[in-house]
């Protein structure tokens, strides 16, 4: 047998530019597996230095068009922590709802538009829509994603870059009638969310995926009161349990040649996974009753260390997000305007929110004039890149019997299962497999 080289020059259906190079020896051993990201760095951390702290959340939401709100809210909360600002219960609820909307939008997009075409053998969702059997699902999926976008419009006046959320609260609040309309639509989409989870299970039930399990450390926020979204302690399946502001001491980043994204490890340990699978594994008991019930119905058991099951975890989180959004809207009732006021103070603060694809970390130091001295940003994909490489090293030897084309597709699917956002983490997708012989 000759050496195999698998080279995916550009991995489609993920955000940003990256590639995968693999060299497999004649004996079937992986000599090299390297996930390379060449999306150019954008130097946000550098140009934030010297800006006023209340501008930071405004600027960082421009990092990404898929997760603007997690970046924004992590930065808001980091500034609030640095200056000791307390916010109202209403503000916390509005932020919670804003992120749930982001999850709905992003998860619906991922399950139906990015992942499903792989599993069903279509080039893209357009091909799926051409099949009369799948067309109603695509139509419903569009409505689901639309609902996520509309939640952002109602809460912030805009689909992507919010216009109302600031340090200290909101400069405008939605009226109760608009929220109740959203509530109706959420109720209307609930059955489809359940169907989505069942579909995700069907897609991944092929035996080829069952073996692809690798126990690695899963990391997510954990809250005492709810399925953590906007804050909590940072915990892991290997016993990590720290306050969110301690993340810079525990989650370490290393530069790697050939990759514009840094490789992340946990202090004293190894690579780790963040995202929906980690959240479901760590916080299963806090999912809504129906989300737990659907997981049981499809036979999903935690902890699950198969990265391909991330799509199922997204389905489960869609059900939870719908339930939790309805609950949050009920708690909000008729929101009242509250003036977001605070006093500028020197300080240092770090905060984490759960973006659809995992923990999104922001923080830094602010001087007594409210000017940023230092700012740290770590997007979720940056946490996952090293873990993806480790998965590939483990899984590819089990898939050696496949043709180069099939093997390449499985590698791409693995990478896509993390729903990587390479422009955020500064990296990409392109698979090269080289078999030596």
């Amino acid at each position: 047998m000759s050496e195999r080289k698998i080279y995916v020059g550009y991995v489609a259906r993920e955000e940003g530019d990256g590639a995968l190079d693999m060299v497999i020896s004649a004996e079937g051993k992986i000599k090299e597996a390297r996930f390379k990201i060449w999306e150019s760095p954008r130097f946000f951390e550098s140009f934030l230095v010297g800006r006023k702290c209340d501008e930071v959340p405004e600027l960082v939401q421009r990092i990404c068009g898929i997760c603007p709100h997690p970046h924004h809210l992590s930065a808001v909360q980091a500034v609030e922590q640095a200056m000791g600002i307390q916010v109202s219960e209403q503000t916390k609820l509005l932020r919670h709802l804003l992120l749930l909307g982001d999850w709905i939008m992003s998860h619906a997009l991922h399950v139906f538009f990015l992942a499903a075409p792989d599993y069903l053998g279509y080039e893209s969702v357009v091909g799926m829509a051409g099949n009369p059997e799948l067309l109603p699902i695509v139509q419903k999926a569009l409505q689901f994603k639309r609902l996520g976008n509309d939640m952002s419009v109602v809460l912030t006046g805009h689909e992507i870059q919010n216009r109302t959320s600031v340090v200290g609260g909101f400069t405008a609040v939605p009226d109760g009638a608009a929220l109740r309309k959203l509530r109706q639509r959420l109720e209307g989409i609930k059955d489809f969310a359940l169907e989505t989870t069942r579909l995700a299970k069907t897609l991944t039930s092929d035996a080829v995926y069952a073996d692809l399990v690798r126990k690695c450390e899963h990391v997510a926020l954990k809250s005492e009161t709810e399925y953590a979204v906007t804050n909590g302690r940072l915990v892991s399946t290997e016993g990590l349990d720290i306050a969110e502001w301690e993340y810079p001491q525990w989650l370490i980043e290393r530069h790697v040649p050939g990759c514009n994204a840094k490789h992340a490890i946990i202090q004293g340990r190894d690579s780790f996974l963040v995202g929906p699978l980690a959240r479901v594994n760590l916080n299963f008991g806090q999912l809504s009753a129906d989300a737990q019930a659907i997981a049981q119905e499809i036979g999903f058991q935690v902890p699950d260390y198969n990265p391909y099951m991330s799509i199922v975890a997204r389905g489960i989180e869609l059900v939870h997000s719908v339930d939790e959004s309805i609950k949050t809207i009920d708690l909000l009732g008729e929101p009242k305007y509250e003036d977001p006021q605070y006093t500028i103070k020197a300080g240092e603060g770090y905060a984490i929110t759960e973006a659809p694809r995992g923990i999104c970390c922001h923080g830094g130091r602010i001087d007594r004039d409210g000017v940023v001295q230092k700012w740290d940003i770590v997007a979720p994909t940056a946490r996952n890149v090293y873990n993806i490489e480790k998965d590939l090293n483990e899984f590819v030897p089990k898939l050696m019997h496949l043709s180069d084309e099939e093997l390449t597709l499985r590698c791409e699917m693995l990478i896509r299962s993390y729903d990587p956002c390479l422009s955020c983490s500064v990296h990409s997708l392109k698979v090269n497999i080289h078999r030596e012989g």
Partner: protein
């Protein structure tokens, strides 16, 4: 009937932004008080969200850059329904291109009542550049006129609808 003019393109990719410049020009020219049924939108690079701009009964005019081999600056008009259906498509990254999004709209029954495309031939779509090539810049006014004709404003008195005459 509501008429939507959607200018598409990336402001930071040189000529690709021509759709935006045409809409900006129209915004200066049209008197909004007299044209409540006409909506001018700088749609940018909406991808899948393109489908959310219109409702079933709307008439849509989409202005975008094209590369078809004609002389740079050429303004073309075509109806979406006259375009050949697309073959194989791969959605890049998280977004779909305009034609992919329109194809999805067609398949899912989300097309507006009529969809006219005004295409302007471009030459340079390099990233991180703001500004149009001279030949493309010269096409702003002819393209805007093509939009006005489609809006049937030309048949009415220009003075009624335009704040001032353009060059």
């Amino acid at each position: 009937m509501r008429q939507l003019v959607l200018g598409c393109g990336n402001l930071f990719a040189a000529d690709d932004a021509i759709g935006l410049w045409v809409v900006r020009y129209l915004k200066e020219q049209l008197n909004p008080e007299l044209n409540s049924e006409i909506v001018l939108i700088e749609a940018g690079t909406p991808g899948l969200n393109l489908l959310d701009f219109w409702e079933a009964g709307d008439r849509v005019i989409l202005v975008d850059a094209v590369q078809s081999g004609l002389p740079v600056g050429t303004v073309q008009r075509f109806e979406f329904k006259d375009l050949a259906t697309r073959g194989k498509l791969v959605g890049d990254a998280h977004g779909l291109g305009i034609l992919d999004a329109l194809e999805l709209a067609r398949l899912t029954g989300n097309l507006p009542t009529s969809l006219m495309i005004i295409g302007i031939e471009i030459v340079n779509e390099k990233p991180f550049q703001v500004g149009l090539s001279p030949a493309v810049e010269k096409a702003i006014i002819p393209a805007a006129e093509a939009v006005l004709e489609e809006l049937k404003l030309k048949e009415l008195s220009n003075q009624q609808f335009l704040k001032f005459k353009y060059a």
